[in-house]
């Protein structure tokens, strides 16, 4: 261990806090590591809590795997941070004990080793474990192929194939193999699979089944001819797919822009290749969602956005304010809207100018003020006022504002909401000592965050903050 790491670990031991001990555990070796583990395992409650906590570092989870407590093992099997080696050991243990529940959890864990997953594919007998495995995106093409081959004639194969057909790891060969043995739902999923072989797609293009057609209609791999044919389908789901397909020719868009189904027109309204004639038609659509999607569309020209800014529905006006191309004149207009959600959209808009944000800072609505607090164009004097807001959402906006300076942020180091202090530890605008001074925070999650930050930044941190802890006391700037 480096001097800094050694000092950090000793300080954590001195703190006597199991969460602080967990934060620095990966740095420690030998006797110091044992002392940390004594803290971590001081009570079963703590061990259970750390085993299930999604922030517990992998090295701590590894230490907990040696406790030999089934309740702890159950939490380790569920914890997304548990590493492959630990899961492999837990698998052996679960197999020896015949614990099917733990085997199922390992079968679905994304960190499980391929060898373990293959073993489950080849030897597990319970349906739940096999079904969990078939859904696991970490199961390789080979694992899925082994599973499929083993269960070929089993009645479970129908359900397994449905999952495999939706698993991105499935290979083209495997998908082709199970296609003919599958029902229409599974076949449709195979057709929509990213690895679906071209031959199957070509074959599917001759199908008149709605499930297959709806899937293919959204697929960029189908031919223009088929798209043209699908555009005339009686089924709105198929036409929706065509409306969403980037390959759909302009001539078809011209037809679908007046489609009888609003679902189809909504898809059309979001396209980035609309012609002026299409936009004019969509502008007067009776469906609010169509107009709302058009209002969010970055290709909508100024006159269209102006018209939509006067829409009777606030959701449409809000969409205009959220449009990345919304011009200043409309932002000024919408900043005075009677609906707070519309004004909030202007406040959040990253190209709202300083003057507008100053005006909106006088608003009384919490959503508007949150937007002002979030906006990087807001002047620091305003942010400094918002830091004192009684609304946690507003103060969080300042913390998340990338332009907020250290001076602005400093009062938030004492924010009453613990999550805000956790966020402050990750804030790049603060200095090391600002963060380090939170190490004795009343909330264990804040203390854990500070020590994790220290572990990850152990090289740049000046060791004097740690070793010289007694000298450098809490200093507020």
């Amino acid at each position: 261990m480096s001097d800094s790491a050694d000092a950090l670990v000793k300080l954590a031991i001195k703190a006597g806090d199991p969460y602080v001990a967990a934060a620095v555990h990966e740095l420690a070796t030998g006797a110091l590591k044992q002392q940390l583990e004594q803290l971590i395992l001081e009570s079963r409650r703590t061990a259970l809590s750390l085993a299930r906590w999604e922030h517990t570092p992998a090295s701590v989870l590894a230490a907990l795997s040696g406790v030999g407590d089934d309740a702890v093992d159950l939490r380790l099997d569920k914890n997304p941070n548990t590493e492959a080696g630990i899961l492999s050991n837990l698998y052996v243990d679960a197999s020896n004990k015949g614990n099917l529940n733990l085997t199922r959890l390992i079968a679905q864990h994304r960190n499980s080793e391929v060898g373990v997953l293959k073993s489950i594919a080849l030897f597990a007998e319970d349906a739940d474990s096999l079904l969990a495995l078939s859904k696991n995106p970490s199961a390789t093409a080979e694992v899925l192929a082994s599973l499929s081959a083993r269960m070929l004639d089993d009645e479970l194969s129908v359900a397994l194939n449905k999952n495999i057909a939706q698993n991105n790891s499935a290979s083209a060969e495997l998908l082709e193999r199970i296609y003919e043995r599958s029902d229409l739902h599974t076949q449709a999923a195979i057709i929509g699979h990213v690895n679906c072989p071209d031959a199957l797609i070509a074959q599917a293009m001759t199908s008149d089944d709605l499930l297959i057609m709806r899937t293919l209609a959204r697929d960029a791999r189908i031919s223009t001819d088929v798209l043209l044919q699908y555009a005339k389908s009686d089924d709105a789901g198929v036409r929706c797919g065509v409306a969403a397909n980037a390959k759909t020719p302009v001539s078809v868009i011209g037809e679908l822009v007046s489609d009888k189904s609003e679902m189809v027109r909504r898809e059309i309204a979001s396209r980035n290749d609309l012609l002026p004639v299409h936009i004019v038609r969509l502008l007067v659509d009776t469906d609010v969602w169509v107009r709302q999607r058009l209002a969010r569309n970055a290709i909508a020209p100024l006159p269209v956005l102006s018209a939509l800014a006067g829409d009777t529905h606030a959701d449409v006006r809000r969409a205009v304010a959220r449009n990345t191309q919304c011009p200043l004149e409309l932002l000024e207009l919408l900043a005075t809207d009677s609906n707070a959600w519309v004004r909030a959209a202007v406040a959040y808009q990253h190209h709202s100018p300083l003057e507008l944000l100053i005006e909106l800072a006088a608003d009384e609505d919490v959503d508007v003020l949150s937007g002002v607090a979030n906006n990087p164009n807001t002047p620091q004097q305003i942010l400094e006022k918002l830091v004192a807001s009684s609304e946690a959402d507003v103060r969080r906006g300042v913390i998340l504002n990338k332009a907020a300076t250290r001076k602005t942020l400093l009062p938030l180091l004492e924010d009453p909401y613990y999550l805000h202090r956790v966020l402050m530890v990750a804030n790049p605008s603060l200095q090391e000592l600002d963060k380090w001074n939170l190490r004795e925070d009343p909330d264990y999650q804040v203390r854990f965050s500070v020590y994790r930050w220290a572990v990850k930044n152990i090289a740049p941190i000046n060791a004097r903050y740690i070793v010289g802890n007694e000298v450098i006391r809490r200093r507020r700037v």
């Binding site: 079963r44 409650r45 259970l48 299930r52 309740a71 159950l74 939490r75 079904l131 359900a159 449905k162 057909a165 939706q166 739902h185 599974t186 449709a188 999923a189 499930l211 709806r214 899937t215 946690a392 004492e414 924010d415 009453p416 909401y417 613990y418 925070d441 009343p442």
Partner: protein, 264 residues
């Protein structure tokens, strides 16, 4: 002027838990303790009265429970309560809500507050009877499920709005002193400030024994309660079925189920 707020440390369960060997409760290792949510609102209501009053108002929080309950009482102190009292004796283990109400009543007699607030119910046991039993023992007027309160220190009457079924509110005038059980949403509970938390850490929590309240082991505990837990268990699962299949297939099945229920 004094407001006494009865609070409880409640247990939340982890997703996976085990029942205790005696079968009467969950193993404590699987419980996560915190201040009862309803009591957070009760305390905030008391703090609002304190902070808006021209006269001095003392807010006293009281709880019945073992050492671990101090953590919840310190949370109340950090939010601004002036004093905290904890009553415990191992013989009180297993006391039902009525017995807890009786213990709290003895504290109230000693403290002589002008108003008593309690949560409508606790989130872990949900008997909803502690506050009401206090009112009964004291022979004080009470109002349950209070969603709004108009009261100024020194008033001999308060006006409360009670939440009823169907979105109805009932406005009630009640003589004071009174016991009110406070409903969620009546206010917006504050977070404790860091300064408040640090100050609370050094404030004493008054520990009161049964003897201090002229009670004995024969007055409390499961044996002296009017109700006792016989067993706690997870019921067998009902008819729930996981909908399997591809996404399109699952959607189709859900539509089919909805149509069947609608009689289509």
């Amino acid at each position: 002027m004094k407001i006494l707020v009865a609070v409880k440390q409640v247990a939340a369960l982890e997703e996976d838990f085990e029942i205790r060997a005696d079968g009467k409760d969950v193993d404590e290792d699987f419980m996560l303790y915190d201040l009862n949510e309803w009591d957070d609102y009760s305390l905030e209501e008391a703090m609002k009265i304190k902070e808006s009053s021209d006269v001095e108002v003392e807010v006293v929080v009281v709880s019945v429970g073992p050492d671990r309950v101090d953590e919840s009482l310190r949370k109340c102190l950090a939010k601004g309560a002036d004093r905290a009292i904890r009553v415990w004796d191992d013989s009180a283990e297993g006391s039902d809500a009525i017995v807890v109400g009786r213990i709290l009543t003895e504290v109230i007699k000693k403290e002589a507050p002008d108003m008593v607030f309690a949560g409508v119910q606790s989130s872990d046991q949900a008997y909803a009877s502690t506050g009401i039993s206090i009112a009964s023992y004291l022979n004080w007027p009470h109002a349950a499920v209070v969603a709004d309160l108009q009261y100024k220190p020194g008033d001999n009457k308060a006006v409360v709005r009670r939440e009823l079924e169907g979105g109805l509110l009932q406005e009630v005038e009640i003589n004071c002193p009174a016991v009110l059980t406070i409903q969620l949403g009546i206010n917006k509970p504050r977070y404790a400030s860091l300064r408040g938390i640090k100050q609370a850490a050094t404030k004493p929590i008054e520990e009161v024994s049964l003897g201090d309240l002229s009670l004995t082991a024969n007055d409390v505990g499961a044996a002296n309660s009017m109700s006792r837990v016989r067993r706690m268990y997870v019921p067998e699962k009902g008819r729930a079925t996981m909908i399997e299949g591809t996404l399109a297939e699952q959607a189709a099945k859900i539509i089919q189920i909805i149509n069947e229920f609608k009689g289509a």
